[in-house]
Amino acid sequence: MKLDLLTGLYVFMLAAFIGFEVIRRVSPLLHTPLMSLTNALDAIAVVGAIILAGEHKSNLAAILGTIAIIAATSNIVGGFIITDRMLRMFKSSAPKKP
């Protein structure tokens, strides 16, 4: 258990540093899509919910787990759709008439 905790903290720290470095470079143009994309990625929490509902260890866990799957899945689906819609809108200058 103790080893797991330390490994987890290492992973968290490294991921936070990577996050800072990568996200700092995101253009302010794209801050709204950034937020909707990270939101969709964050919904990876669905894997925890799937295990909880799927294992069906108690009725409470199964019910709460299913609601959690619904919430996370709607974030995944909605988040990816809207992010892609937004990013498709960003176009560079078309060749303009003088």
């Binding site: 253009s27 302010p28 794209l30 939101n39 709460l64």
Partner: protein, 464 residues
């Protein structure tokens, strides 16, 4: 089934790499769509890997969850661009709901056999999750205008809020020491739920960009805490990425308003304004008609448009594109100056203008455009107020003193489209409006811009 277990881990490792690439590719509009695809593939892999987990006995519930979630998710992905801020707040709430429910189930499944460390992260997961859930719902309600947008403040508000937070933490400490006290657990959910509501009550619309970013950060941290509880590195990483993204955006937003987080959350902008909003300036202002405005714009060689939340409210972005086209056709150099906190969430204005087909290389950040302001013939302010207020530079007594602004007052002519002289959302007087080189264009942003466009194209076809 060793093979099965390691197969799942491999899908998680690939998913992690794809998530990081996904964010990396978002750094430029050119590669950004790859980012979405990488995220989608990573997500699909991780879900498939999880479904292969041998502990899953009840596939029916999982299928119901995935199908219903998709049915809810699709319309949420297809909302109008103007509704993106409230949609984002709503998705923070959904994410937090998922985390809270999983945390709750884990507690009841494991109690009383929970180590102090496990109970600490579990408490953090549930506290952050619940307060983010109701806080984000409140923010979404305010943005959707089903709740009053005005900040509501009362005496002792901070005392009440901090007291609630302290109480929740105290209960968490008791549970860490005595994880068998299952009766205390509902309070660990309920108090942060109320706290989330109370936290957003005093927040006004102008503070929404900071608050949404902060809620984003909380949602990420709660997911990372869930990763510790479930011992899932994938979840710790995704949560850390989301948390740091929200944190970076919060810092950018706070800096752009020259305020600290604590000031946004506990400062009560409303109280400061009440003190300074008393005196009203009675000086004369100059105004202009659409014809005059069109003539001035047509004679300019460099125009900077400064959009704000008012443009979004008036749905004027498409008319603004027509203005952009009409002026560009006449050889006028038109750029847009975007303040980081313009609108209701980070990047809000960019999305609306991109939707209206304005090329993104015309959308410039505040720092990029301020240096050129003195060489600008006309600065046209559409539905922005505080972010152009020169008092932020000059008047130390102003509540927004020190906030970085777009220096539109340095342009040769400033034109401000505004409904009336009423003070803006924050209730702060804007001395810009009384300056000699400033013209007020009174009217609805959409109609007024439409009228200017008609003047420009009308005189153009007449050959004047």
């Amino acid at each position: 089934m060793i093979f099965n277990e390691s197969f799942i881990e491999v899908t998680y490792i690939i998913a992690t790499a794809l998530f990081i690439l996904s964010l990396k590719w978002l750094s430029s509009p050119k590669t950004s769509r790859w980012g979405v695809w990488a995220g989608e593939i990573g997500m699909a892999l991780a879900i498939i890997g999880t479904l292969l987990y041998r502990g899953i006995v009840d596939y029916k519930l999982v299928a119901i969850g995935l199908v219903v979630g998709t049915i809810i998710g699709v319309p949420l992905g297809k909302v109008a661009m103007t509704a993106v801020p409230q949609r984002t707040a709503l998705s923070h709430a959904f994410g937090a709901l998922c985390v809270t429910l999983v945390g709750t189930s884990e507690f009841y499944l494991r109690s009383p056999d929970i180590s102090p460390f496990m109970m600490s992260v579990l408490s953090m997961e549930v506290i952050l999750g619940s307060l983010t859930f109701t806080g984000s719902l409140m923010a979404a309600g305010k943005l959707q205008e089903v709740l009053p947008q005005r900040p509501i403040t009362y005496k002792g508000q901070n005392f009440v809020n901090l007291g609630m937070l302290a109480l929740a933490i105290a209960i968490a400490v008791i549970l860490v020491l005595h994880p068998d006290q299952t009766r205390l657990f509902p309070a660990l959910i309920f108090i942060p739920l109320v706290f989330g509501v109370m936290l957003i009550i005093p927040i006004g619309g102008a503070d929404m960009p900071t608050v949404i970013s902060l809620l984003n950060s909380y949602a990420g941290l709660s997911a990372a805490a869930m990763g510790f509880v479930l011992n899932s590195k994938l979840l710790i990483i995704a949560g850390a990425l989301d948390g740091s993204s929200g944190f970076i955006l919060s810092v950018i937003m706070s800096k752009a308003m020259n305020r600290s987080f604590t000031n946004v959350l506990f400062g009560g902008f409303g109280q400061i304004q009440a003190a300074s909003g008393g005196e009203k300036e009675q000086r004369p202002v100059k105004s202009a008609t659409p014809e005059e405005a069109a003539a001035i714009l047509a004679a300019a060689s460099r125009v900077v448009v400064v959009p704000g939340y008012g443009m979004a409210v008036a749905q004027a972005q498409h008319k603004v594109r027509e203005l952009f086209d009409a002026l560009t056709k006449r050889g006028v150099n038109v750029t847009f100056g975007i303040h980081p906190v313009a609108g209701r969430m980070p990047g809000h204005m960019n999305v609306l203008l991109a939707e209206a087909d304005i090329p993104y290389d015309r959308l410039l950040e505040m720092d990029a455009i301020n240096g050129d302001m003195a060489q600008t013939d006309v600065a046209l302010v559409i539905g922005a107020n505080d972010v152009t207020n020169p008092a932020a530079r000059t008047d130390a007594s102003s509540p927004i003193y020190g906030m970085p602004i777009l220096d539109v007052d340095k342009a040769r002519t400033v034109m401000v489209i505004k409904r009336s002289m009423a003070a803006g959302f924050a209730g702060i007087e804007n001395p810009l409006y009384y300056m000699d080189h400033n013209l007020m264009l009174f009217g609805d942003a959409k109609n007024f811009v439409g009228n200017i466009v008609r003047e420009l194209s009308g005189s153009g076809s007449d050959g004047h």
